[in-house]
Symmetry: C2
Subunit: 191 residues, 2 copies
């Protein structure tokens, strides 16, 4: 019994290639070649390339958020600390040599229609990340967890783009320092 099903191999390979080279720029021929799988097998598991893209994005969302939550909780002991370690986790991410920006921002760029399932899923991913941050903000006892989560989320997005497009490897550091200002504000005792 294989630890990885053919389907898993296909998704993992497609994920790597889509992330590295883009969606439209990656043909199914290349995916099956690198996955070591026949074209028939791919189309046995997925009705179309577009369905494969969607499955790939779903997988990425799961892997990304699981890693974000695990690492954030490893680096920070309290909810307050964790609001900041979110930025450290992003910083680590930006340093990885295969960092190619946020796959969901990239997907939104290629699938520009807001009705496109891939774009919708990208928005959903962003919503879920922000939801996690809002949870941390609530646990930390923030005055307005909703507002704080929107602020921190915006800083994260900015850092990702700056790190990727401009290659600014300290983007997360700057964003973290900015974040601390709003965290302090939101967690200050109301007097």
């Amino acid at each position: 019994m294989p630890a990885l099903s053919k389907r898993d191999i296909i998704v993992a390979t497609a994920l790597k290639l889509f992330y590295r080279h883009g969606f439209n720029a990656t043909g199914v021929e290349r995916i099956i070649k690198e996955a070591g799988v026949s074209k028939k097998t791919l189309y046995n598991h997925f009705k179309s390339k577009d369905e494969l893209v969607l499955a790939t994005l779903r997988q990425r969302d799961e892997l990304f958020r699981n890693n974000l939550m695990r690492e954030t909780e490893r680096l920070g002991d309290t909810a307050r600390e964790r609001l900041l370690s979110v930025f450290d986790v992003h910083h680590q991410w930006f340093q990885q040599k295969d960092f190619s920006g946020c796959m969901f921002i990239n997907a939104a760029a290629e699938f520009s229609s807001h009705q496109n399932p891939n774009h919708i899923l990208s928005a959903e991913h962003k919503r879920l990340v922000r939801h996690y941050i809002r949870g941390l903000a609530e646990q930390a006892g923030a005055n307005n967890a909703e507002t704080l989560s929107k602020q921190l989320n915006l800083l994260l997005e900015g850092a990702i783009v700056d790190a990727y497009v401009s290659g600014n490897s300290e983007a997360a550091i700057i964003a973290k320092a900015m974040a601390s200002v709003f965290i302090e504000k939101a967690l200050a005792r109301v007097h």
Copy 2:
């Protein structure tokens, strides 16, 4: 003598299509069709599609920054005010019905290699926008114009992504409020 040369028509048409549908997803066939121009004419002005993409991005950079500077200066009278009106200009941009995010973020997503000329030009565009902001910060007498410009730039990037991917039409408002915190800090009298 035509007001617009064939070349200008081609670039303008390609700009619209690339921005709306993406680079790889837009074929030259469609461009020449909508531009009302023969394929030979296009390849008479540009050696390849990639060269057309580059020319298109250059044009976009010029148009975007000219508009940004003009509108920013129209909306704010002092340098301090203008540091904030930058966000108002972005807010207006986000409300436009043909808003499809930042063309340079989109380009970086599709041309992922940092050595790719289109990616390099995108980074250069971002650098020039930040340079403009730093100029405003200096005119306003900021303590550390370099730092402030990095902070405001990060907020702008975040707002653009949030407005586009998640369709958050108030992203610029949030970013502006956050920006004011750092502007206040940087312009406070040192005592």
